[in-house]
Symmetry: C2
Subunit: 147 residues, 2 copies
DNA sequence: GTATTGTTGACCAACATAGTCTACAATAAT
DNA sequence: ATTATTGTAGACTATGTTGGTCAACAATAC
């Protein structure tokens, strides 16, 4: 029952972007450094986010990446989905065909409840919310933010 | 965000036992057949459950395994924990030391909410509940149960 | 044109998953 | 006591996933 680094790193990278929204493109290198993610790895993580239209990128000098839409329009479940695939704890929760007898499987109902609970939480939180939380944490401590 | 087969198979195996509670030892072979789990694999899954005192086993002819305590005293989170380890979506949710700066990580709060939600669900359901659900499903269909 | 940035894809080491197979230990029935 | 029957333990393995690295390439500001 583990979230992969992809989802976590991606979330952190986007949080970073949310915190710098409106300041123009941010260098991948800077995100990588601040979040302590390997640059080469981050490159891979950012790709699907660009493809999905969450992130806009510009190449060349003064280039970088930035959020392609307001932080309040990006929900965490989107991010996780793009990087880790469906939230489902088991295949059959999404596609009945995965397990042969999904029709009469009591455990399956439980897995579905799990899925729903997770999805409800993740889809209730926007990047904006996350950024606000982060800022609150930092102000409380009075230090430079880091994640 | 996936539950491994261990947790799923284990749950199904225990459900099977719950449905046969009070009928004496059930053969591993029978569980394996009914649940379509490889016997050799099931043997591995049952071991930690025995060690944890959820299941009692007797060897030799007329042997087999059975629930070591009433089905209403076994909660799903126990089973999952024994077979899949901590529910935590990320390390740092359990042990702060896993991530260096867990103190000021907003995402971490989210992961903790996720953990709590999952745990709440799993710990609210006992094997007895699961068995009842299963029986209800079968009666509704009027067929032999299978999972 | 050149330095700078993102983009792509090939490649890889380590680990986890989902098993199999074999030898062994206990015990009930005879 | 022997034997057939059951669970127990451990070594082994094949496959996939994770979490990367590296090098070549494409776009663009200057
Ligand atoms: S149907 Fe997929 S777990 Fe039972
Ligand atoms: S502290 Fe572990 S994800 Fe941020």
């Amino acid at each position: 029952m583990r979230l992969s680094t992809r989802g976590r790193y991606g979330t952190r990278a986007l949080l970073e972007l949310a915190l710098h929204q409106g300041e123009g493109p941010v260098l991948l290198r800077d995100i990588a450094r601040k979040q302590e993610i390997s640059l080469s790895y981050l490159e891979h993580l950012i790709t699907p986010l660009i493809a999905a239209g969450l992130v806009a990128s510009t190449r060349g000098p003064k280039g970088g990446v930035m959020l392609a839409k307001p932080a309040e329009e990006i929900r965490l479940n989107e991010i996780i989905y793009l990087l880790d695939g469906p939230i489902a704890p088991v295949e059959c929760v999404n596609s009945k065909k995965a397990c042969a007898r999904s029709e009469k499987c009591a455990p399956r109902d439980i897995w579905q409840e799990l899925r729903k609970a997770m999805n409800d939480i993740l889809s209730s939180i926007t990047l904006k919310d996350l950024a606000s939380r982060q800022i609150a944490k930092e102000e409380f401590e009075g230090t430079m933010y880091y994640i």
